[in-house]
């Protein structure tokens, strides 16, 4: 029983320490993400199926944002998702022209 408690405490302590370290560094070296990528990613179905030809929904959103893929590339989402992505992209274009 004593060994068990010591083991759990030790590994728990390591985990807490390294978790805190990682959290601190993730905050310090934060990468500013393109807000358009984030907005497109949110309307994608998050199936991570890869049917669009990209490794996952996030890479797909990046490609759409950089105009390397068309807005109707998502097979799973179908017409509904295409409409949503079109809307998001247009909103961003309007914002950019206003600024």
């Amino acid at each position: 029983m004593k060994t068990f408690i010591i083991s759990v405490a030790t590994v728990g302590g390591f985990g807490a320490f390294f978790g805190a370290l990682l959290g601190y560094f993730a905050e310090k070296y934060k990468v500013e993400e393109n807000p358009l990528v984030k907005a497109i990613y949110e309307v994608l179905p998050h199936g991570e199926c890869g049917a669009c030809g990209f490794p996952g929904c996030h890479s797909c959103a990046e490609a759409i944002a950089e105009a390397q893929a068309s807005v109707d590339v998502c097979v799973v989402g179908g017409a509904a998702t295409t409409e949503k992505i079109k809307k998001v992209v247009e909103e961003f274009k309007n914002k950019a022209s206003k600024n």
Partner: protein, 196 residues
């Protein structure tokens, strides 16, 4: 034998005589996966060097000051060592993503996979099994990392030249990479018996 000569012996042994990739067959995943691109293999070499040396230092401290005094040594070693290595890889990933997005993209999935690279865990276990002290562990880690770096550079250079040479179709890509690494491993066997 003086302490310094002993350190030199450990270094040569881990870099050449027992080269971690070519003669112990550890860390082959990134060795084959990343060497089709010289730039990515150099970046990977630096990342692995950093993680290996730091992991050797931290795991030595954990092994000697926590695991052995509390009699947790054989069974908690893997869990705590992997925890250390995983966290260090996380740090490297965050740093590279911020400082060099291009390199981050080139490394792709292989960067998070350093966490499960058996090379680094292998080095920490060698240190523990051989009963090395702190400086010896660091030297062993530096030697192993340089051995890995050297193997990466050799194979990346050869594969860059192979890309422009005429090969039979069924040799192209990974097949010839494995054959070349076999020949390079044979060449490295020439170091055997160099240290007595």
């Amino acid at each position: 034998m003086s302490y310094l000569a002993n350190l030199g012996k450990i270094f040569v042994a881990s870099a050449f005589v027992n080269n971690i990739v070519l003669l112990q067959f550890l860390g082959l995943c990134s060795y084959i996966g990343l060497t089709d691109n010289m730039h990515a293999s150099i970046g990977m070499g630096y990342a692995v060097t950093f993680v290996t040396v730091l992991a050797a230092a931290v795991t030595w401290i954990i092994d000697r000051w926590i695991l052995i005094p509390f009699h947790l040594q054989p069974f908690l070693q893997i869990v705590s060592f992997i925890l250390v290595i995983g966290s260090l890889v996380g740090l490297v990933e965050i740093y590279i993503r911020k400082m060099s997005p291009h390199l981050y993209k080139a490394m792709g999935i292989y960067l998070p996979l350093i966490a499960t690279n058996c090379l680094i865990l292998g080095v920490t276990f060698i240190n523990s099994l051989q009963g090395f002290d702190f400086v010896e562990s660091i030297v062993e880690a530096v030697g192993a990392a340089i051995g890995y770096f050297m193997a990466m550079l050799i194979l990346a250079g050869i594969r860059e030249r192979l890309r422009n040479s005429e090969l039979p179709d069924f040799f192209k890509g990974k097949a010839i990479a494995y054959m070349v690494s076999g020949i390079v491993a044979l060449a490295f066997m020439g170091f055997q018996g160099m240290i007595k």
